[in-house]
Amino acid sequence: MTTVIDPVIVAKDLHKKYDEITAVNGISFEVRAGEVFGMLGPNGAGKTTTVEILEGMRDADSGEAIINGINVKDDPRAIKAMIGVQLQQNAFFDNLKLSEIVDLYAKLYLAKVDPVEILSRVGLDKRKNSKYAELSGGQKQRLSIAVALVNDPVVLFLDEPTTGLDPQARRQVWALIRKIQANGSTIMLTTHYMEEAEELCDRIAVVENGEIIVLDTPDALIDQLLETGFKPEKRIRGATLDDVFLNLTGHDLRDS
């Protein structure tokens, strides 16, 4: 792996406009090596645009994006070669087997990997001969993360990794993200699920209308809220309907 420079991601006053709409309006933050950094916000808040600027997929109108010491604008290809990306809407060639897809992408990054080993990291090694089109939503998302790992990236970008997944599949993806972090990877993810951010992220930035309105650890943010005298409307019952559903349908992998 490339030597990791801390902080891995530096975003300085990023701006991006599409015609009349301001998508990103002065976003700055840093992501430290080894942390899971979450960007939260409703749809259209500017999360994806910010991430795509960092990934070298889009040019910012102004501001700087630096990944591992390299300015994205100067060498987008070098950036793409060392990061791992899972895009919000991405798909893979539907007539290829999973092992062939991983193998192809590894070759695009000039990386030498064992496709089956990569698939086993996301629990898809048994499905190595399946076609992409045959996978469930959760499995597609896990394949997408597997493909993002082929180049042993210095930072992994996950754009809404669990949107549209059922509770079991979501929990599987969470477990996978935690496992990747435990191996020392740095992860930046976007989500609009608060419990996901609370579950996974070391620090979160809440984005609204293209601006970061707050940036801290989840615990600190909750504490700050409680200090204002905030009381949740419902009595805490110690379990949620989510727990009920999972208890009824089972936590186990459902890879049928």
Partner: protein, 370 residues
């Protein structure tokens, strides 16, 4: 290089796994070929006749005009050319008769003998040409008879007939290269448009854009794959067509296959590039399909795939001779039907070359990843 190879191998795998696409790429052109071959449209065309005009005077021009028929009714499809050229056309089946107008035609007091040569294998056409020629010369004679005596042109017209056995193989042999050329157009344009537009709308291309490879790698892989497919398809169509319709290819010249490969690759490159341009422009399959059809449909009928260009009005062929498919079909036909070598196809190669440059310029301007 290894990236390029990986992408090419992957897209070849994808294509050959798509059994339905494979079936239609071969089945449809073969079906058309066999149906048209069986119907034998030779009968419905006015026969092609080559005329050598040694007289080149007012009288001979009037005779040629009379053979063509007046504006309402077309009698014969006449092309005037050098003696050698018109006999070559008869020999290799693109015409059915040669009419030689002697140098003394229309000169007062001289006996002008018009020589006609037929391909003896086409008796029906022979009868048609013979009847029309008889009637036309008769009419010329009668017209002359009505002229007042002092202006009367004293001449006589005779017709002598001979036959040869040409090597041409008629409409069936003529049809195969045209259909193969059409299939190159269809495969080149449609497979590129549909795979790329689907990849684009699904987000496959977006994901590729997030990798360090350039657009050129991916496009080069696509081009290579489709070029291989186009060549294989041409072989299959020409071979199966030749067997089913019982005709020979390139008069048995083995080099014809090499020449066909070159032409198939040129035609493939041209239509693949057009496909890239369309898929760059179109956002989804719904918009891509009509555009691809607008490009291909007119060419199917205006480029001499099903019927010779000679059956169409002159104002139309004046333009349609410049269509990319016309160059491709004409070139492939010259190789398979007349046994010509690619080195003699200057016009076709130049035409294809210019179109390839145009198509690639448009494609590079239009292509988008999302």
């Amino acid at each position: 290089m290894s990236i390029y190879l990986a992408l090419t191998v992957a897209s070849l795998k994808m294509y050959f796994r798509n059994k339905q696409a494979l079936f239609w790429a071969l089945f449809f052109p073969l079906l058309i070929m066999i149906i048209f071959g069986i119907m034998n449209f030779d009968k419905f065309n006015s026969p092609n006749v080559g005329v050598y005009d040694a007289a080149n005077n007012q009288a001979s021009a009037a005779l040629i005009q009379a053979l063509k028929g007046n504006g309402e009714q077309k009698l014969l499809s006449v092309s005037v050319d050098e003696l050698e050229a018109v006999h070559y056309e008869l020999e290799f089946g693109s015409s059915r008769a040669v009419i030689e107008i002697p140098a003394n035609y229309g000169i007062p007091g001289e006996f002008a003998e018009i020589k006609v040569t037929y391909d003896e294998r086409f008796q029906q056409e022979r009868a048609v040409v013979s009847t029309i020629l008889g009637q036309v010369t008769d009419a010329v004679f009668k017209e002359a008879a009505q002229v007042p005596t002092e202006y009367r042109v004293e001449n006589a017209i005779g017709i002598s007939e001979s036959v040869i056995e040409g090597q041409g193989q008629g409409f069936k042999a003529w049809l195969i290269p045209g259909i193969a050329a059409m299939a190159i157009m269809q495969t080149g344009l449609f497979t590129v448009v549909f795979t790329l537009v689907r990849f684009k709308s699904q987000g496959v291309l977006r994901r590729l854009k997030a990798t360090p490879i350039g657009a050129s790698h991916f496009l080069a892989g696509q081009l290579t794959t489709k070029a291989i497919i186009v060549v294989l398809q041409t072989y299959v169509l020409v071979i199966v067509g030749a067997i089913v319709l019982g005709v020979s290819v390139g008069n048995g010249r083995l080099g014809a296959w090499f020449d066909l490969t070159i032409l198939a690759l040129l035609g493939g490159a041209l239509f693949i590039a057009l496909g890239l341009a369309v898929s760059g422009w179109a956002k989804n399959e719904e918009t891509a399909a009509p555009i691809a059809n607008i490009i291909t449909m007119p060419m199917m009928f205006l480029s001499g795939v099903f019927f010779p260009l000679s059956v169409m009005p002159d104002w139309l062929t004046r333009w349609s001779q410049f269509l990319p498919l016309t160059y491709l079909a004409d070139g492939m036909r010259a190789i398979t039907v007349e046994g010509a070598s690619i080195a003699t196809l200057g016009t076709e190669l130049l035409g294809l070359g210019i179109w390839i440059v145009i198509a690639f310029v448009i494609a590079t301007k239009m292509f988008r990843w999302e």
